[in-house]
């Protein structure tokens, strides 16, 4: 089997799983889990193309992954900080109950 | 009462108000103290007070008291000074003393304990029994290695276990014992003089009573048990 195809399949399924988690979870923190999965799926693609794709002398793949990891960490930190703030105010992280903007 | 402010440096905390102290200096002071102790504990007897118990023992004060013992004169434990008056039994705070007076067949008190038990698992070494005893019969022992694996009988001391000679007392607490012996001697002499006068009469009395007692020995024995 083509390793690139294998990795791309893996990343697609992982992305889909992340999307599923984002759509079906109620808990804000677990939605973040889904987002992390999606980001990782994308990262796998970058590394896979760097490794098995056409020669990449500028190493764009790994560098993009580095940026992606840095931003993912920032995103997780901010996301969790917001969730914690909400939790302090409302004592819940259940998105169904956080409906004060609901008309 | 008038509050006055602290004056001597030893009595005020080390920092003076407003003085700038290098942060962390206090930590190093503490480290210096433990460091000094760490080093000095190797040679300074003041610092290293630990005694390796079974091999070496710390000196025990002659006043040290542990559990009580009964004193007997001479060589036989039949010569207990105790007259089974039960004062100690009554005063004992945890009530760990059990005394039964020995009587002869006639029910007459022999002025000595038939049973004298101390439950040392209950005894709290207060020394009140020794203090209240008017007959100098019970004193506090200095023996402390009494551990046993028998929780019940092993810690219930009977008369035989409790009785120790006057010589032992003398060795244990020479000061107290010699004072006691001197006092007892004086009393004895006084008593002996009085007793000698009464002796003849008493002897006659005793003989007549003995005849009466022989008539009903069985009753008494049953009553005592």
């Amino acid at each position: 089997m083509n390793p690139l195809a294998l990795l791309l399949t893996l990343s697609s399924v992982m992305f889909a799983l992340g999307l599923l988690a984002v759509l079906t979870r109620r808990n804000a923190i677990l939605i973040l889990v889904g987002i992390e999965l999606m980001l990782n799926a994308a990262n796998i693609n970058f590394i896979a193309f760097w490794r098995y794709g056409p020669p990449d002398l500028e190493m764009a793949g790994p560098i993009f992954v580095l940026f992606s990891i840095a931003i993912a960490a920032a995103e997780a930190a901010v996301g969790l900080a917001i969730i914690l703030m909400v939790f302090r105010l409302r004592r819940t992280t259940d998105l169904n109950q956080l409906d004060s903007l609901h008309g | 009462m008038q509050p006055t402010s602290a004056n001597t440096p030893a009595q005020s905390p080390p920092e003076k108000p407003g003085r700038w102290m290098l942060p962390g200096l206090g930590l190093f002071q503490g480290l210096a103290v433990t460091g000094r102790n760490m080093v000095q504990s190797f040679y300074n007897k003041e610092r290293m007070t630990t005694v390796q118990y079974p091999e070496e023992r710390a000196p025990i004060s002659p006043n040290f008291r542990n559990f009580p013992f009964l004193v007997y004169d001479g060589n036989s434990i039949d010569n207990l000074r105790c007259v089974a008056c039960s004062i100690c039994e009554k005063e004992c705070p945890p009530q760990c003393i059990y005394i039964v007076l020995e009587r002869d067949e006639n029910g007459k008190s022999l002025k000595r304990p038939k049973i004298f038990d101390i439950d040392v698992s209950v005894c709290m070494n207060c020394g009140i029994c020794a203090e209240v005893c008017p007959f100098d019969a019970i004193y506090m022992d200095g023996e402390y290695e009494l551990a046993t694996d028998d929780r019940f009988e092993g810690l219930l001391f009977h008369r035989e276990r409790l009785a120790k000679s006057a010589d032992y007392h003398m060795k244990l607490r020479p000061e107290q014992a010699s004072e006691v012996i001197a006092r007892r001697k004086a009393e004895e002499e006084k008593k002996a003089a009085a007793a000698a006068a009464k002796a003849a009469k008493a002897k006659a009395d005793a003989e007549s009573k003995k005849a009466a007692a022989d008539a009903r020995p069985a009753d008494e024995k049953g009553g005592d048990a």
């Binding site: - | 009595q11 920092e15 102790n37 025990i60 004060s61 020394g127």
Partner: protein
Amino acid sequence: MSVEYTDSDRLLRVSLGPQHPSTHGVFRMNVELDGETVVKLKPVFGYLHRNHEKIAEGATYLSSMPYTDRLDYICPLTNNWAYALAVEKLAGIEVPERAEYMRVILAELTRLINHTAFMGFILGDMGAWGSALMYAFREREKILDLFEHLTGARMMANFMRFGGCRNDLPAGWREQVGTLVEGYGPFLDEMEKFLVGNEILLSRSQDVGQLPAETLVNGGITGPMLRAAGVSYDIRKVDRYGIYDRFEFRIPLGEKGDVYDRIMIRFLEMRESLKILRQAIDQLPEGDYVNPKARIRGFKPPVGEAYGRIEGPKGELGFHLISDGTPNPYRYRVRPPSFINLTLLEDMCLGLDLADAVIILGSIDIVLGEVDR
């Protein structure tokens, strides 16, 4: 143990004790935590209840004396004194001068023991791994040796009698106390260096567990805890029981009443105790060590009522006795300082960290033998 949350506000309920490394015995704090912040604290005690008062009512007056040793087992001799003082008041027994001096010496030595051990315990609560405690116990051991030499027991002294003390000072004891007192000052200096400058200790103990002085007074708090809050109340000065009016000493007063002040006040009190000891050793007269008229056997006080109190190392220690003329007291009641000081524990801990609650409990300086009786 299970994890449970109150549904309404999701607090974590933790039971600290009865077996917990820092509860100073079998004491239990039911704490409700929000994160690490204490929002509710309920002290639970009684695990060490030994029925002391009722037993004393069934026993002769003398028989209760050894039991008082076991109230606050860190400092038995002050307990002895408080009880003896109450009975002496009840029966109107005079105490000879020499006995009074002996009592003062013993009580101040006891105060040294208690405060020294306190320094070790509080550092243990703060997490210093036992060093301070070991230094404290090293010095305490020297005093205990003196006690053993005098009373025959290291801790359970059973030494005071109604009208004096049980026996006279052994030869050389007075000089031994003298050398001990001389050596104690340097030890306190070292301890102070070890503790007081330490930034971690400062930040842990300052502004922790303070209450307004009024609350403390209303709560009946006594002893170093009250004086740390700046209230000048020391029964040695208020009652001038015994012969305390003959000595020159001062009452150190704190500023804020936090844990740090409580530590410092105890340091200063130890230094004052050393002063008293020096004076007492110098002035110790010859004479009877016990009132020769006092009876040991068959002691029956007249019908009446008396309350004897002293300044124990932990606070006001009082014994209230009612006599009906029999050899047993009709009513026997202890006013234990640690128990009453403990009552304000929750007020001191609310809103602080769990770690603070632990050192506040330590700074109250309780002994469960006395709290539960």
